[in-house]
Amino acid sequence: MSGDVLGTDISSFVARRVKDLAPSGIRKFFDLVASTQGVISLSIGEPDFTTPWHIRDSAIQSIKKGYTMYTSNAGMPELKEEIARYLKRSYGLEYDPATQILVTVGVSEALDLAARAIIESEDEVIIPEPCYVAYPAVVNLAGGTPVLVPTDSSTFEPVPEIIEENVTSRTKAILIGSPANPTGAVISRRVLEEIADISIAHNLIVLSDEIYARLIYGAEHVPIASLPGMKERTVLLGGFSKAYAMTGWRIGYAAGNRNIISAMTKIHQYTIMCAPTMGQVGAIEALREADGDVSSMVEDYNRRRLFIVNGLREVGLSCPEPRGAFYVFPSIRETGLTSDEFAEKLLTAEKVAVVPGVAFGQSGEGHVRCCYATSLEDIKEALTRIDRFIHQQG
């Protein structure tokens, strides 16, 4: 297939800002994984549990009862009320469901809307990295400039001093994720307080991605919105995919100042209309009845987390203990390979898929992301293979 039609290079029609968007490093790698047989994959950031049955059943019943139409643009009122109740009972945060909460198609949409709602051309958004691959992309697509700053190289927490050094007159927002993909780092209250101080001092918005909030192990999840003076300037982004194993349902939400939520809702109603009705029904059930399911999944992830951290350290990879999400981010510097080389060679030699850290930004170089949301047997076998691989490198 040629890109040329009647002498025109069709690719020239693709907008510059899309053309300039770097293809996700993970995409490239997944194509390679997909073409290899018998791979043990620690690369997919998705729960290996299916959605708890009662949540599925609630959606099935709703379809039977005829809940097949649009909902209000901002989401079903019952769901927004449940989200408000959840944020209140978990963190003492109070949002008005009618004006301060928007239901979206996953956190991904909420993040995109938030970026588009606040960013003017060439506004800067400070993003500590390594970070989720979409963060810089959504800022670029909104016409802004992502300013990527390194996190602490041992804890992967943002470094407030570095954030502050990068604040300019064009800085509009700070975008953080905690617990973090790809590192599993949980930002401590102390660091959040310093980030809050910076955002207040320089009058910045904080976009806070808290999709992994409930997957936390022996640490405290602090929504930055709960810190003094922060509720109005924070857009809290949450969702159902990870904690309730509801990735395919595509339901997320944003909570924040009514002006920003209303601006986001405007974009949402023109581009999306509303989040899927069946997904919203499932999300209501999740918030009402699934706390027990979440606890037992978290218990299970925790066993695998301890197992994989222990295993990686035993094969000689240094590995800070991740306190959240379902990722570990071991250092592979000892091997003398770049993260791209490590991931590619490990895949070819031992058929284990991990994601090169550099896919999450330059500060991710020297690391790989392993997702432990997979069976303990697979984790065990993967560790055996990684051990063999590392010793062959030496």
Binding site: G45, E46, E299, R304, K380
Partner: protein
């Protein structure tokens, strides 16, 4: 930590102390001694496999038998239950509420074997008023495990 070790073993009794240690942050020796103590205390009663016998030709026959009894003054249902529990054909025995008293799960090689156990051993026992025998036709789920048609991993590759 005892509970955590027991939960892991209940899910998979073949986990080694080394694995359990790695999953809990305990030392392997600590795990071994927790398990040993749990076995001694009969907290862990037995290790067994869940077998899907229907995949083989020499299938076992299972029956759920409802037993109505007349409880004794001193010992209530315990004496009759303990007698019934001794028969090798009795795999599981529960005291239940409702329209009958004891739920017996009996196992045998043939229908005949179970039928003769009920008519010749169980029903004539002193204290047994009546029995109703239900032969099991198909097992769908056992000990929390769906035996067939479970869910496979449907994950597709996705950028995240």
């Amino acid at each position: 930590m005892l509970n955590e070790v027991l939960k892991i073993l209940e899910e998979d009794a073949r986990r080694t102390p080394d694995d359990i240690a790695a999953m809990t942050g305990l030392k392997p020796e600590e795990v071994s001694s927790i398990i040993k103590k749990a076995e001694e205390d009969r907290l862990i009663v037995k290790y067994k496999a869940i077998v899907n016998w229907s995949k083989l030709q020499d299938e076992h026959i299972l029956a759920l038998i409802e037993v109505k009894t007349s409880p004794e003054k001193e010992t209530g249902f315990d004496a009759i239950a303990e007698t019934i529990a001794r028969y090798p054909q009795v795999n599981t025995l529960y005291l239940v509420s409702g329209t009958y008293d004891l739920a017996v799960i009996a196992v045998g090689k043939t229908l005949q074997e179970i039928a003769s156990f009920v008519t010749q051993k169980l029903a004539p026992l002193e204290g047994v008023q009546s029995t109703a025998t239900h032969f099991l036709l198909k097992k769908y789920k056992e000990d929390g495990v769906i035996l067939e048609g479970g869910e496979e991993n449907r994950r597709q590759s996705v950028v995240l």
